[in-house]
């Protein structure tokens, strides 16, 4: 039985049919990346898995039981950090610890919040408010907040998409390390194929919306820890990247040719492939 499962899920938002018969099983301890274009319904997917929205049809299952509401066993890292701006970095993390692990003695909770801030390298900034932190630091706090609540699965909704390339790379390494060390089940939603390959055990592409569907799963059989510099020369990496990119582009092509008479220029395809 999968730890977390989408079964034949249908979801519309307003007039748009976002997801069509989406089925996906996530096993315990697995790091799954869902890759898709912007607007394909990736955030909707995370909301469904988190229990923040309900499917129109089909089911979201947690250990075989239907998910009806969010719960602390499914931690979420939001795209826009969603830190509470009136609380310090420490208090943001502490709030999560305090709510989810309310039975712990206070000192224990304080230590725990401090430990997770230290884990993301922010001990020195724990008394700063989010407005005084850079984007990368904010996302680190959000990551610490999610992890400190000790979820069984971590759902990440494009956590790095708002960051500059360098910060992004260093946080990718951080996430890779945390995933490896903690052994947590992680679902990462991203629009970056390279990021998915660098981090995930398995990649599931999501076709271009509306009515997005999952493509075939791609297992990433590149040993960890993965070195981003060596990766570029790894034939497995290059093959995987071209397969997934091809799938995504094809799905958009189909979408376009079914809605618009004009097709995608060939040059754009080739450029994206290389």
């Amino acid at each position: 039985m999968a730890l977390l499962e989408l079964r034949e899920v249908e979801k519309s938002q307003g007039q748009t049919h976002v997801l069509a018969r989406a089925s996906l099983g996530i096993e315990k301890g697995e790091f799954v990346a869902i890759v898709g274009f912007s607007g394909a319904g990736k955030s909707t997917l995370i909301s469904l898995l988190a229990g923040l929205t309900k499917p129109d049809a089909g089911e979201v299952l947690w250990q075989g039981k239907s998910v009806t509401a969010p719960g602390p066993e499914r931690g979420v890292v939001f795209q826009n950090y969603s830190l509470l701006p009136w609380l310090t970095a420490f208090d943001n993390v502490y709030l999560a610890v305090d709510c989810v692990l309310s039975d712990l003695p206070k000192l224990e909770k304080v230590r725990r919040a401090e430990r997770y801030l230290a884990m993301v390298g922010l001990s020195h900034a724990q008394d700063r408010k989010p407005a005084q932190l850079s984007g990368g630091m904010r996302q680190r706090v959000a990551l610490a907040r999610a992890l400190a609540a000790d979820p069984e699965v971590l759902l990440m909704d494009e956590p790095l998409s708002a960051l500059d390339a360098l910060t992004r790379a260093s946080l990718q390494d951080e996430i890779e390390r945390i995933g490896r060390v903690s052994g947590k089940t992680i679902v990462l939603v991203t629009n970056d194929v390279d990021e998915a390959i660098l981090l995930a055990d398995r990649i599931v592409p999501l076709s271009a919306g509306p009515s997005a569907i999952f493509g075939p799963s791609y297992d990433v059989e590149i040993p960890r820890p993965r070195d981003r510099r060596a990766l570029n020369h790894d034939p497995k990496f290059r093959l995987l990247r071209s397969q997934i990119t091809q799938f995504l582009l094809d799905s958009r092509q189909t979408r376009r040719s079914s809605t618009l008479p004009s097709s995608l220029p060939v040059g754009e395809l080739v450029g994206a492939m290389s």
Partner: protein
């Protein structure tokens, strides 16, 4: 060097220009009192007659003959009570309006209809209900001044970003914790704008409330001196009311700014 001279100059101008404005108004006032409104006391006369009330601002010569700051203090006390009442009723009401669509549909029209009613209309009703001028005055202040608090709190609650509420849901915050740890802090800047506007109205209403009830205070004094034909004191009261209102607004503005920095 040039920069500092210029900023020094602009500071001086910033001080002199308002003084010039005051001079123009006082000039017009003097002109009016000398020409077509002879009953209007001149600025000089006003100053002379007001002086005893200014040099001994806390003197108490009798129930209706006290220093201007003593009267102001009575009024401030009354406003503080009525205003507190307005906040105690207005804030929860605003939260309910902001959180529940049903509640909003039921009560929003009533709020919109009661909002523009003048203090002069509420006071007689307060007298009928409470039979005493004291509580009637507080009722009037509260009824007139609560609306900005109600509406801004409701707006603030409606403007709490969905992201914050999602965080609360994921962390399974209880309803009370969500209210006090997420919604209240998120809505606070809006609420404070409401508090500030409410205080302005509460101070505006005090004069009407004291005039009609004859309670001692800066508004009661104004009305009594009108009846006693000491018109200089009307002007003294007007200036006092204006200055106090200005200072109150500045204080609230400063607090509001601090809340908005984060």
């Amino acid at each position: 060097m040039l920069g500092t001279t210029q900023s020094w100059k602009s500071k001086l101008l910033g001080l002199l220009l308002p003084l010039f404005g005051v001079a123009v108004i006082v000039g017009l006032w003097a002109l009016t009192s000398q020409t077509w409104a002879k009953a209007l006391p001149s600025p000089l006369k006003t100053w002379e007659v007001s002086l005893p009330y200014l040099v001994e601002p806390f003197a108490k010569r009798g129930e209706l003959d006290q220093g201007i700051l003593r009267f102001t203090w009575y009024s401030l006390e009354r406003v503080a009570q009525g205003y507190t009442l307005a906040l105690l009723i207005g804030t929860p009401l605003g939260f309910l309006l902001g959180m529940s669509r049903v509640f909003q549909t039921v009560f929003d029209p009533i709020v919109q209809i009661l909002r523009p009613v003048s203090p002069l209309a509420w006071l007689p009703l307060g007298l009928v209900i409470f039979q005493h001028p004291g509580p009637a005055g507080l009722f009037t202040i509260a009824m007139c001044s609560m609306w900005p608090t109600v509406l801004n709190t409701a707006l603030g609650v409606r403007s709490v970003p969905q992201d914050y509420l999602n965080v609360a849901k994921v962390l399974r915050l209880s309803r009370t914790k969500t209210l006090f740890k997420v919604m209240l802090p998120a809505a606070l800047p809006y609420m404070f704008t409401g508090f500030r506007l409410s205080l302005g109205i509460a101070w505006l209403v005090i004069v009407a409330a004291e005039m009609l009830t004859g309670a001692p205070g800066v508004g009661g004094f104004l009305w009594q001196e009108y009846n006693a034909l000491i018109y200089e004191h009307i002007i003294l009261c007007i200036i006092t009311i204006g200055l106090v209102g200005f200072i109150l607004d500045r204080i609230m503005g400063a607090i509001e700014q601090r809340l908005k920095v984060d």
